[in-house]
Symmetry: C2
Subunit: 427 residues, 2 copies
């Protein structure tokens, strides 16, 4: 695809072409499927996962052994491992998606126009979703379920290390589809570990409508760079909490601690704490000591270091950093404008929160911070499909086109205009 890479083999190219065509045809079938059929497929697939537990564990063990032989580290093996609990949790996930309301066919804003026609919008599937992910095999079931329920066909490409697990999970999804009288091509899992297959998948404009990469920043960057199909993605989660002058100290402490320490490795974890200069003397010493109790390393601007003993000075790179670790950058700002400016300059448009009792400042922050989630007096950790009531999420988007923020079923759909007349013509 790039000049430096060898040309893709003819065989792989025609394999991907036929896979794409099959997905396109299958997308028409699943677009027409009733809610009952889609739910039946999901419930039968859940049952199949439970019935085939032994097979799944065996396939997963095979993958784990390969990964161990290849010298992968413990964190990698952990992500790859399903275990019995993982299998039951996948099945439960399918049942949860079955319980969600079907977005497809929903009609909104159907109103009469002066010409006499009625104009409204109907929610429709996107078509074919390509999902590219890394070593977690549970994504196979989770992503397939969301695509299926939203009336989309999907082509899944998991990490090569999880090939056997993914194929075993795919077989269960296919059993579910079959039980509902639906084509297996609605959920296709790539059976090749060839890296060129991804390059083809993300450029098959005719057959694939949107690409969702799930995984590390390297994967997402590579895909965004080379895809010529729209990509739903986020690259970074450099999330901020701004503690305003009028913040209630107890709320500011609770939110900051939760946003930083509830989980360190998630994209909605706070990475930089911004503190209004007027509240710094009352707030900074206590939050610093609480953070340190939790084992969080602090890096502060020169002004903030006056309030916190033995804190290293933050460098310019710290303001851009997504640590995904027990490290926190701290900066004192003179006012809400400076806080918004800092977030605009260094943030990643993911999730940012203000802690304040001042209505005007809260509203300014809400309107002017251009992030996919903006919060008042709440922890950034709430930025999540389940917490927002979407039921499940296929990812979080920090782009503005199409879906923004946590992407659930609705983000995998579009709306077409519908017009009802009774012989109406335009004059």
């Amino acid at each position: 695809m790039t000049d430096s890479r060898p040309p893709v083999s003819q065989d792989l190219s025609s394999h991907m072409e036929s896979l794409g065509l099959a997905a396109r045809l299958a997308s028409r079938e699943i677009a027409r499927a009733t809610s009952a059929q889609k739910n039946q497929a999901l419930l039968a697939a859940a049952q199949s996962l439970e019935h085939n537990k032994e097979n799944l564990l065996q396939a997963n063990t095979q993958d784990i052994q390969h990964a161990q032989t290849a010298g992968q580290d413990a964190a990698f093996i952990d992500r790859l491992s399903l275990g019995e609990k993982g299998i039951l949790s996948m099945a439960e996930g399918l049942r949860q998606v079955a319980a969600l309301q079907d977005p497809i066919g929903g009609i909104t804003d159907l109103n009469y126009r002066p010409s006499g026609i009625q104009v409204g919008r109907m929610r429709v599937p996107l078509g074919v979703i390509g999902i590219i992910y890394e070593s977690r095999p549970n994504v196979t079931a989770d992503a397939a379920a969301l695509c299926l329920k939203s009336g989309n066909a999907c082509i899944l490409r998991g990490g090569s290390e999880a090939l056997h697990s993914n194929q075993a999970i795919a077989a269960c999804m296919h059993e579910g589809l079959k039980a509902a009288g639906l084509s297996a091509n609605i959920v296709q899992v790539l059976d090749t570990t060839d890296r060129e297959a991804v390059d083809l998948l993300i450029t098959m404009k005719e057959y694939v409508d949107v690409i969702v990469p799930r995984g590390g920043k390297g994967l997402i960057e590579r895909i965004s760079k080379h895809a010529c199909i729209p990509v739903i993605k986020h690259l970074d989660g450099v999330c901020h909490v701004f503690v305003d002058e009028s913040a209630e100290i107890s709320k500011a402490i609770a939110i900051s601690i939760n946003a930083k320490t509830q989980r360190y490795g998630t994209c909605n974890t706070m990475e930089t704490l911004l503190v209004h200069a007027a509240i710094a003397p009352r707030f900074l010493p206590s939050i610093a000591s609480l953070m340190r109790e939790k084992g969080v390393e602090l890096r502060g601007c020169s002004e903030s270091r006056r309030y916190v003993a033995e804190m290293n000075e933050a460098t310019e790179a710290d303001w851009y950093a997504e640590y995904l670790a027990p490290i926190l950058a701290i900066k004192i700002v003179p006012d809400v404008d400076a806080a918004i400016d800092h977030i605009t300059q260094y943030g990643s448009q993911h999730t940012d929160a203000i802690v304040t009792e001042h209505h005007g400042n809260a509203m300014r922050f809400l309107h002017e911070v251009d992030s996919s989630s903006v919060m008042i007096n709440a922890s950034t950790r709430f930025a999540d499909g389940f917490e927002y009531g979407l039921g499940a999420e296929i990812g979080i988007s920090t782009d503005k086109i199409h879906a923004r923020g946590p992407v659930g079923l609705e983000g995998l759909t579009s709306q077409k205009y519908i017009v009802f007349g009774d012989g109406h013509v335009r004059s």
Copy 2:
């Protein structure tokens, strides 16, 4: 940008860079502007267009003379010509956009979640819109107005033949912005006729959020192919009317005649008429003679030729054709399935209509035809921003990602999640 083109000059590259940066900064200003400010800018710009009528006519005459010297044809000169009426109509357009409701800041679906937080969505601008168009100078005012009202900065690049007209219109827009205390960089009109400028504009990911090409298919294809920024566009309008077995003949005739003959050159004009075999004997002879009275050339499938004397046989190419001319392809189909299949295979996902009194067939057509507008018993000519009540449109999109169908103010916006808490943390 492609291998075959010469490298872009350093000068142009840095010029575009500074233009892009100015647009990005201006986008923050217009995003924060109040409705009153935006309306003031639009109304003052309208007034400025009227006050500067003579200057505008002079600039336009200059462009027209150049075009005539360059040997452009009458249709081209017609598109390029403003005239006094054109100027007043631009001013009226600005006032109409001022009268539209401001979409920015609108909050929807603000509901409490079990955790106690309130989650909703707020409508926000996209940021910077790049608009590339051809010889019609009125697009400068129309497009700038929609971007401004939707809180976006824009970079406009009109056809080089309209350079003087576009600069004169830009000056009026700037006067309007100034009157409202807003930066002129909110509406930037490229002052270079260098074609490379377009290549740079459509690849400046950092500074431009979406590209809207307006013009002929050649322009749109070129831009879609090379852009690495999302493009809101439609390539073809191969629109169908399907006259079902149960159609009322009078409605079928009225709709078909309107869809084909009200205007030949528009993207929502019918290009292929599909007729159910059972109604063909009653419908085809009369519609054929009416179409011929209007001067429409007919091209039919072999079966339809049995009902219409001296009709040429349609070739495969006719089913794909967007004639934009008084030519109509006619095909007899055995049932609604065959009609949907034909539209799926040959259509362009723009606008398709069924004429039927059968509720089940109407609903199947509505659900299964995957086009940006799907109509029951109404003319395809209704597919239009004004007719749909959007107030104005920046274009029609046949893509499924982001905006679909006529794109008005809402299509130039996005939604972010907002969360209200009172010290809430995630457990």
